[in-house]
């Protein structure tokens, strides 16, 4: 058991290492000192109090987006629409924050968060039902719905809900009562605590409750799960709805603690939903792994601004490193049984048998 855990860790760390290595080669080729650049990139966001709280602040929505993807991946579903659900949740939470004037700050925040969650859940219902009852590939549907949502929100934010006073496309800023304020002098807001509580909930659900086990059973072998009496269809819909709710919450939180109004670059490039994909992969789809990956990724994200400011290397270098991490994460560097020795043994065995070529 311990051995396997160690290998899982290696399979997450090695891709990061190789990606950073290639990034270093690119920087060297451009005549910069890569060690210096990496020091600047990681020192501030991880080892200063202000930087660290900022990193955690950014990590909140990322953590939720990562969980949203992890929960579906475990059941072998692909909710690629986290990005769409997230911006929808953020947008509607923003409208609730700007147009519903509720004087009680707690109630107002609560309403906004609930609106965001419901938005995410409603939007994921289309692919979930199509998947569960008609067996339509949920990946294609969620992917395409992202573009639908982006187009619709672009229209809504530049048409009916546009803030006429702003010089660029944006919705009205949310009320003070709907904003999460900073805690003390740090950049942390209460939203991070909410995100962390959700994480704890998942951590225990995954480890101690039936739901986590059921998810894995459906993911590993749906026929078997069905045969033992699990209701696979209902489970698929449940998992997708949970994923959508997490995405919606992430969007609402991002709106209420960071952006405060919906602009066309609300979730940045490549978008928090896509970042969540990387985070979930990096964390091996386990809640604890997702937490660590979210913090690391957030440091990478905030560090990219530093690298641009202090070294003159374009900050896209970080985007390249991110892409490379994903690329290397797609294959397992170390197999559950050692790949190299196994291959060698196979070769030796094959020589002895007549039908060796058929494996």
């Amino acid at each position: 058991m311990k051995r396997i855990k160690w290998k899982n860790l290696a399979n997450s760390v090695l891709p990061v290492f190789f990606a950073l290595l290639i990034g270093a080669v690119i920087m060297l080729a451009m005549g910069h000192n890569p060690l210096n650049a990496y020091r600047i990139m990681f020192e501030r966001p991880l080892f200063t109090l202000r930087g660290l709280t900022n990193t955690l602040h950014i990590a909140g929505p990322l953590l939720l987006a990562g969980l949203a993807i992890a929960v579906t991946f475990r059941s072998n579903l692909y909710n690629m629409g986290v990005e769409g659900q997230l911006i929808f949740g953020g947008f509607l939470a923003g409208l609730a924050g700007a147009y519903l004037h509720i004087p009680n700050p707690f109630l107002h925040k609560f309403v906004c968060l609930v609106v965001g969650i419901i938005a995410g859940m409603m939007f994921v219902l289309i692919p979930a039902i199509l998947r569960a009852f008609l067996r339509v590939d949920e990946m294609v549907v969620t992917l395409t719905l992202n573009y639908v949502m982006m187009t619709v929100l672009e229209y809504l934010s530049s048409g009916p809900f546009r803030n006429q006073g702003a010089g660029y496309v944006s919705t009205n800023t949310i009320d003070k009562t709907a904003m999460f304020n900073r805690i003390g002098k740090t950049r942390l807001t209460p939203f991070f605590i909410i995100a962390f509580l959700v994480f704890l909930l998942f951590f225990f659900m995954h480890k101690r409750m039936v739901f986590g086990y059921r998810g894995e059973a459906v993911g590993k072998n749906p026929e078997f799960a069905e045969a033992t009496g699990l209701r696979v269809r209902r489970h698929i819909v449940q998992v997708m709805i949970i994923s959508g709710a997490l995405a919606g919450l992430a969007g609402a939180g991002h709106m209420m603690s960071h952006e405060f109004n919906y602009t066309l670059s609300f979730s940045g490039t490549p978008g928090i939903g896509w970042d969540g994909m990387l985070i979930s992969l990096l964390g091996g789809h386990s809640p604890a792994g997702v937490l660590i990956a979210a913090v690391f990724y957030s440091a990478l994200k905030t560090g990219s601004d530093n690298i641009n400011m202090y070294t003159g290397i374009p900050k896209e270098i970080v985007a390249i490193i991110q892409g490379l991490i994903v690329l290397f994460l797609s294959i397992r560097f170390i197999n559950d049984r050692f790949g190299l020795t196994k291959r060698w043994r196979n070769k030796r065995n094959m020589k002895g048998t007549v039908h060796g070529t058929f494996e």
């Binding site: 395409t144 573009y147 229209y155 026929e223 069905e226 374009p314 390249i320």
Partner: protein, 302 residues
């Protein structure tokens, strides 16, 4: 009449890159590999074509280098997915992330927001068909397009012949439909899957060149704007058959053309035309799936 002509012309114009991606992607689809890196490969084609054109002032070098870079991406994709058995979706996503990052990196270090090949006059790529040009509606439909458009329509039939009438196509389909059969027949699955992916990256490069280089001579980052994903959806709807999938590509082109041309009359709302094809597609997927499920007569299993 002028409006109709313009909509028809634009429909073909917007169909071209999607169509090329569709035909490119369906080979991989038939070989059992889902290639969602179409988007990234197309963007790489656009980027490299304009970058080389700006620096070398050579029309043909731009074409060749775009194709070469896209093929390299195809090799990376096929090595990771076919040889190392990695997760295709993740590899595709990675390529879709890396290409705009590299493009952004190069643009940023050159200190420009986008690339413009000023010496290119897009008119030189336009092909005017001598007689057809005069016919009222047909003329705007068929004449005056860039080379890529004619290639794309030619490629539909080439793909059909290649998939259904040659040994290569039959073997590729066997590899996709029944890997065990392929193995028992001694077909080199990896070889055919790799070749199918490479055909895809070749056509994606042509699509990218068409999008950025033949039309405008300008590259802006993320200019492919999800066309690769539209292509994937079209392939799924058409179940990887060249003619059917191409039809879906055309539906997208038509909707895009309507959105662009009607925005003069309808204003902002016309942008919503863009989402119609997505819904059409999801509806088609649902109907297709429901239909085939009914024939299966299985138990409640999903």
């Amino acid at each position: 009449m002028a409006l109709l002509n313009r909509i028809l012309y634009d429909a073909i114009y917007h169909t071209t890159p999607i169509l090329l991606c569709v035909i490119g992607g369906l080979f991989a689809y038939k070989a059992g590999v889902l290639n969602i890196a179409l988007e990234g490969m197309m963007l790489a084609g656009s980027f490299v074509a304009v970058l080389v054109a700006v620096n070398s002032q050579s029309v043909w070098l731009a074409y060749l280098s775009a194709i070469a870079v896209s093929l390299i991406l195809g090799l990376v994709f096929s090595y990771m997915s076919v040889n190392r058995k990695g997760n295709v979706i993740i590899i595709g996503l990675a390529i879709n992330m890396i290409v705009p990052a590299v493009a952004g990196f190069v643009l940023q270090s050159m200190g420009v927001p986008n690339l413009t090949a000023k010496w290119i006059n897009p008119v030189i790529f336009r092909v005017h068909l001598p007689v057809v040009e005069r016919i009222p509606v047909l003329g705007s439909l068929l004449s005056g397009h860039p080379i890529g458009t004619y290639i794309s329509f030619l490629v539909i039939f080439l793909a059909y012949v290649l998939l259904y009438k040659t040994k290569f196509g039959i073997y590729t389909r066997v590899v996709g439909e029944s890997p065990e059969t392929a193995k028992s027949l001694g077909i080199k699955s990896n070889y055919y899957a790799t070749l199918a992916i490479l055909i895809g990256s070749l056509l994606c490069a042509v699509a990218g060149v068409n999008l950025a280089y033949e039309r405008l001579g300008i590259f802006t980052n993320n200019m492919t704007a999800g066309r690769g994903f539209i292509a994937i959806a079209a392939i799924y709807c058409g179940k990887g058959e060249p003619l059917k999938s191409s039809l879906y590509a055309f539906i997208f082109g038509l909707a895009r053309a309507l959105a662009v041309n009607l925005s003069i009359y309808a204003g902002n709302v016309a942008a919503l035309f863009d989402i119609i094809p997505y819904f059409v597609m999801i509806a088609i997927l649902a109907v297709n799936a429901g239909y085939s499920n009914r024939n299966l007569r299985m138990r409640t299993y999903w």
